[in-house]
């Protein structure tokens, strides 16, 4: 390594606030919890039976100074364990954690708060726990109280505070602890909206001051809005790290796959119970329904704007002179998104053959993120006299990707902003 390289690598390491190398954490979960000496003595002779749960598996990453870094993952993906390792609460089984700077963990607000003490005492207690010296607290005390908007109540006992007031006080102390690195575990969703926006401004201020923020969340919108970079954890493994939007998209796709698995099982059941029960009385019965994407695979989860083909299979059992099909899409929150049928569109269904398939195609399904359900019916010439009717026969999920996630309502109508 020549001189130049040495210089360069030194400069690099100076820029790094958190460096995690090959960190693994395994929890031993005994099948029977050993929490008394007797059971410990007994199990010492027995072959120990425990499960090894790998909460983190060989995770490595670096967070630069001044970065807003997000860690996302589903419940149980190991993100909170990772945060606790960063905070020094857990010790990793393997690997190295290097942290440059003072940490202020926001794993929980108001650590050490005691309801029997006054607000003032609690501020001192909590701030001391967060690593402030008495001198620092004395200096900042007025600001802390002012920020929490609790001047009038500060000498009252904490137990007389509403929970919102307690959170405000706790948050105010934490924000004034003024460390280089903030570790946060989804505490953004606290307080009333007024206070929330105040907090967010405060976080942005942190970032502007060049402080490092690491936030753990399963809320994608937080990552999208605030994080420069993010990392996706799944079952203790790092799946992706990089630009926040990319990571969020990966996370979304993973989620779509998972939801798909759950929904696929449901639909088959509802068709069976509704469709084939009283088969002998029916003139026409709907036998199967498929929701297909461009590649022709049967799905329940679609992305906003995706191509969709719905095929309805039917069987004619009795006499019929006319055949019509209709499909309606409804939001799970209420309200019909659309309702189309062959009668309205003046499409004549051929009913010569006993078996058939009717297909409706959507080049572009502009439905925004959410849960929807489908009603399907078929009839002769009067819609009210159904041959077959399958209410809520299918649940569809739509996922928006990219900034479409932020849109409100049901439809993604193409639009453009302009200024004169």
């Amino acid at each position: 390594m020549n001189k130049n390289q040495v210089k360069k690598s030194q400069k690099n390491s100076e820029n790094i606030a958190i460096s995690v190398k090959n960190v693994s954490k395994t929890f031993r979960i005994p099948h029977e919890k050993v929490d008394s000496l007797r059971s410990a003595a007994v199990s010492a002779f027995k072959k120990q039976s425990y499960e090894e749960f790998k909460a983190l598996d060989n995770v490595s990453f670096e967070v630069k100074k001044g970065e807003f870094f997000g860690i996302i993952g589903r419940n149980g993906s190991g993100k909170s364990t990772l945060l606790k390792i960063l905070a020094g609460i857990y010790k990793p089984n393997r690997g190295k954690v290097k942290i440059d700077g003072m940490i202020s963990p926001f794993l929980e607000l108001g650590i050490g708060f005691n309801p029997e003490l006054s607000g003032r005492d609690n501020v001192y207690l909590n701030a001391t726990v967060l690593g402030m010296t008495k001198k620092q607290i004395d200096e900042k005390f007025d600001n802390i109280v002012k920020f929490s908007e609790l001047e009038r109540f500060i000498d009252q006992k904490l137990k007389n505070y509403s929970s919102g007031m307690q959170v405000r006080l706790a948050f105010s102390v934490s924000i004034h602890a003024n460390r280089d690195i903030l570790l946060m575990d989804e505490v953004l969703a606290v307080g009333d909206s007024n206070f929330q926006s105040k907090c967010l401004t405060e976080f942005n201020k942190y970032r502007d001051m060049g402080r490092t923020v690491v936030i753990v969340t399963h809320d994608i919108s937080v990552v999208q809005r605030y994080c420069d970079r993010a990392m996706l954890l799944q079952n203790g493994e790092m799946i992706k790290i990089g630009n926040a939007d990319d990571v969020v998209d990966t996370y979304n796709h993973k989620n779509m796959d998972d939801v798909e698995k759950i929904l696929n099982n449901q639909t088959i059941k509802s068709i069976d119970s509704n469709g084939l029960q009283n088969r002998n009385q029916k003139i026409v019965t709907i036998t199967d329904i498929h929701f297909l994407d461009k590649n022709g695979s049967d799905k329940s989860v679609f992305a906003t704007g995706e191509y969709m083909k719905i095929s309805i299979g039917y069987e004619i059992l009795g006499e019929c002179n006319e055949l019509n099909f209709g499909i309606g899409l409804h939001s799970a929150f209420g309200g019909q998104i659309f309702g189309y049928n062959t009668q309205m569109d003046e499409y004549r269904v051929d009913f010569e053959k006993k078996h058939g398939e009717v297909i409706i195609e959507f080049e572009f399904m502009p439905i925004l993120q959410g849960e929807y359900y489908v009603n399907i019916a078929c009839w002769g010439n009067v819609e009210q006299n159904h041959y077959d009717f399958l209410p809520r026969c299918k649940t569809l999920m739509f996922f928006a990707i990219g900034n479409k996630r932020r849109y409100r309502g049901f439809f993604d109508i193409s639009h453009k902003w302009n200024q004169l």
């Binding site: 609460i89 700077g101 963990p105 929980e108 005691n114 005492d121 010296t133 008495k134």
Partner: protein, 262 residues
């Protein structure tokens, strides 16, 4: 690994803050408040004094100042039993400080023992009051020895707490076991009786218990001006220091994983 945490400069303030809070909370919501720290030993002494001076003949129990010896011995033992109990339960009772943030676990353990120490100091004020009331002045050496012994008790409490606080998180039986052991210790220490009532070989066995050693020689030196031999004292201090050092190793070994077991 976590070199940066050593930069944390407020550990002393943290320990003090935690101890102070515990002390404050102990007498919270009581009308007399801190006065109880004085009132409790005072009332206890009055009862003991009445029982042992009026109902029993002082000659039976060996000393005219028996009640002074008794109250001193009881306060010391009380200090030990409260301190060890608080120390052992400290990590569990402050679970939030263990699982939600990083503060060195020892600060929590030390804080709880300091709290017991504060109550002991309050009790001492009462004891001094009784010595004044009984118009008895112990020798200077005896007072020095008493202070040394009090400090030794504190070291024992801290050592015991370092051993047991991380283990208690895993094995809750420790509390029950310790309660029984404390009760045995109470009677196996020459608190109510003078050591001299026992046969010589039993005395030797009992003195192996550090609390018995401390209490016996405190009583003897304060009232009878009878001191332990130098080699006894040095040996005792060496043992206490050794126990303390061992406890540091145990603490180091067991405290790392405490957060996972709470």
């Amino acid at each position: 690994m976590f070199e940066t945490f050593k930069k944390h400069e407020n550990f002393r303030e943290l320990v003090w803050m935690l101890a102070k809070t515990d002390f404050k909370l102990r007498y919270n919501n009581s009308v007399l408040g801190y006065l109880w720290a004085l009132l409790k030993p005072l009332l206890m002494f009055l009862v003991l004094n009445f029982v042992f001076s009026s109902m029993f003949n002082p000659k039976n129990t060996g000393s005219e100042y028996y009640s002074l010896q008794l109250i001193t011995a009881l306060m010391m033992f009380n200090f030990f039993s409260e301190g060890t109990n608080a120390g052992m339960g400290s990590l569990l009772s402050k679970a939030q400080l263990v699982t939600k943030i990083y503060v060195p676990r020892w600060t929590i353990i030390i804080a709880s023992t300091i709290n017991a120490g504060m109550i002991y100091v309050m009790n001492l004020i009462v004891i001094v009051g009784f010595f004044v009331w009984k118009q008895f002045l112990p020798s200077f050496e005896a007072i020095v020895l008493f202070v040394l012994f009090s400090f030794m008790i504190y070291v024992l409490i801290v050592a015991f707490s370092f051993f047991t606080a991380p283990l208690y998180v895993r094995f809750r039986d420790l509390l029950m076991i310790w309660e029984v052991l404390l009760m045995i210790m109470l009677y196996a220490s020459p608190i109510i009786y003078p050591l001299s009532v026992l046969p010589m070989n039993v005395q030797q066995v009992l003195l192996a218990n550090p609390m018995a050693f401390i209490i016996h020689f405190t009583k003897e030196s304060l009232i009878n001006n009878h001191f332990p031999d130098a080699w006894q004292l040095i040996g005792f201090i060496v043992i206490v220091v050794t126990v303390f050092v061992l406890s540091l190793f145990a603490y180091k070994k067991f405290s790392a994983t405490v957060a996972e077991y709470i």
